[in-house]
Symmetry: C3
Subunit: 325 residues, 3 copies
Amino acid sequence: MLLSQAINRAFKGYLTLQNSIQNDFELSGIAPLESATSTQISYIDQDKYISSLADSKAGAVLIRESLQDKVPKGIQPLVVANPHLAFALLSALFIQNDFSQSSFAEIASTAFVSPCASLGDNVRIGEDSKIMPGVVIGDNVRIGKNCKIYPNVVIYGNTHIGNNVNIHAGSVIGCDGFGYAHTDKGEHIKIEHSGRVVIEDDVEIGANNTIDRAVFGETIIKKGAKIDNLVQIGHNCVIGEHSILVSQVGLAGSTTTGRNVIFGGQAGTGGHIHIGDFVQVAGRGAVGKNLPPHTKWGGHPLMELDEWMKFYVSLRRMLKKSTPR
Amino acid sequence: MLLSQAINRAFKGYLTLQNSIQNDFELSGIAPLESATSTQISYIDQDKYISSLADSKAGAVLIRESLQDKVPKGIQPLVVANPHLAFALLSALFIQNDFSQSSFAEIASTAFVSPCASLGDNVRIGEDSKIMPGVVIGDNVRIGKNCKIYPNVVIYGNTHIGNNVNIHAGSVIGCDGFGYAHTDKGEHIKIEHSGRVVIEDDVEIGANNTIDRAVFGETIIKKGAKIDNLVQIGHNCVIGEHSILVSQVGLAGSTTTGRNVIFGGQAGTGGHIHIGDFVQVAGRGAVGKNLPPHTKWGGHPLMELDEWMKFYVSLRRMLKKSTPR
Amino acid sequence: MLLSQAINRAFKGYLTLQNSIQNDFELSGIAPLESATSTQISYIDQDKYISSLADSKAGAVLIRESLQDKVPKGIQPLVVANPHLAFALLSALFIQNDFSQSSFAEIASTAFVSPCASLGDNVRIGEDSKIMPGVVIGDNVRIGKNCKIYPNVVIYGNTHIGNNVNIHAGSVIGCDGFGYAHTDKGEHIKIEHSGRVVIEDDVEIGANNTIDRAVFGETIIKKGAKIDNLVQIGHNCVIGEHSILVSQVGLAGSTTTGRNVIFGGQAGTGGHIHIGDFVQVAGRGAVGKNLPPHTKWGGHPLMELDEWMKFYVSLRRMLKKSTPR
């Protein structure tokens, strides 16, 4: 599909292209500025990302009128009122089919695949791995050696799983992330997620978890991490080596952690923050900012753990003083 | 089954009818006062609902002795010590079978239904919709056009789903709501839920969510609403158009929202409250009262967002002053 | 396998046995001091458990050098730097297969098992019980009379379920508990859980819950308890008769409750605590200590409910006084 055709089809009823296309080309997809190739579109929504534009190899870039002059020669500017919405609309043209009927699978002779499991196209399963009844595996999934995928787990397309990984019943790996652009009328236009989930060696994932695929690139669960039940991991998160997430933790999109980080039960994070190596967050702790390595935290609002432990005592003393009985 | 027979069978060992039945009739079911017909039973448990009795078309009403005189002629009073318990006991006689063996389904020629999906009786699936492996659909379910029902989703009987709806893996739609009446001995008697879930057009529902059916009537997710993963929506909730529920939100029964409401991650509500149009509740916010339109809230206890943002700073200053170090 | 062989195989690369084995024997498994037999290993990690050693019938005990002298004659001491880690490493030798291909099942003639359900080996299903499509049942599971196991529920091996039990769609019963020992390098070594889940009569379990099996012994949901959706129950929990757990509650391992306890939505507990009969914990309440019978609690930090209700008012008054506007 030509760039011009893609834009006509995607923008219909929502947006208008405000300039003309000088260099039409056969469009292959959408990508961030850093990784886009000459047959892909990228977008810039905020001024602060403008510096990435100079080095981009993108074929075209969605951009506001006010920033149009910053686009280097060789990149076709696509001037629109709302580049983020334009990006979402275009993403719908490049949806990948996640759960095709299997036409090819490469299953090691020592692997076990239940006859009650469903495999998508082009799946590979390594030696001694066990795929139990009711498991549904999407297209292009790779599963390493000696893994146990328990009943009714769902693994979306393109997920890569290392060796010695256990995923317990009912967990969903590689689900679409929760990302939308918004129209003037308050509608939400889905951003189709083309990234994937990567799970490294020796990871254990409990039951009924949800781990979202990345918008672009990868959501990563690193080597040796252990995840309890009913945990939510948003798109583009990176969980560091040997980290521990206790039950019902919720990590918003693009939370990244160092190694051996511990989150207690029902703790959570806002998005786009980094948690340093060996940080401990107590149960129910609510993290809204970057945390330096080797520190301990708790509470909501978040306080250093020492302070949080004293909080209740202080508060109670104070309230007793000030409250008439 | 005659009314008298139904009562004998249902009350056995738990309750005694304290008056006599003048007008026995063939009983067809249970319903709220407002919608009950002359072959249905209804109930009144609290004095404040007594005004609804005058206009009711119910055939009989479960009622306390003290309110017996308020029952209009034409409605058979059924005097019992605990009308709510009586209602729960009777509800067990009218359980619908949710997942029958399919004897009829109407599937559009352009729809795809995986051979690894299970359909109940009398299911209809619209054009271009895709039912993936491991999906289980109950009796009388309607699914519109261009929907994607991802692997291992379960849709209980009588659910109605519009067009362009995505439901991600592992979500459960139309599960029984959590409602019980209680005996003197502390046992809980299940209230069988005869309502259903309605999902309007353009809704997206993430992975491993649970959306309960209504006791009576409908739990409704309105047009364009977007729901993340691991969210709980209780019986009889109504989620307004284009509203957004981020991961791990929990809405108690009969929470209703206006349009374009946003709940941040892990936020929650108590039951029977209304959230106005365009309200925003920050992550972890705990809502226990009605909220007016166009307001922002956070914290637990809930405060206006401005106040909540200042809360931590104030608290810390105060604690520093008052805490001996 | 001989004790000596088991130790060689399990410790490889992680631990060294610091003494010699005088009494080698054919090892049959691992068990707690109280229940271990003469062909089983047990372990002691903390001084406070040393009193249990005198009465133990264990064949061998993993122990620190400093406690070696306390081991009675007749028990083979196994001196290691980290007995907990040694226990975890050895547990991997005794993993039971949870989901075998069925070679035997005993299904009552009035029970219904969907052709789309999967049964492990040696399963028994009682009269009038209904196993719906997509359900996966592990080895040696017992299900009583008149149960409804809704679609896509997964029941791990050895779970025992009584009569009149409903388990709603997507719930996972008997999943491995979340327990690991830790190496010096910060790796987590899985403790294989050999316990099981027991669900007594008249229990109802909602959708997408997770109930973990015990390390040893049993996780128990007692008669008449009712559990909503998306609830996490950790290993070795005991939920008392007629208790109620509202949606998204999370109970950490070894939480035990009396009868008729109520947990509001999103409440949680730390581990190893006991909640007395008839205790009520308000929604979002965070319990970190034992609670006496017939008391009511709320908040985080936890306060008595009365205090918690006044908390917000007091706090606000105080902040208003102290905050410059």
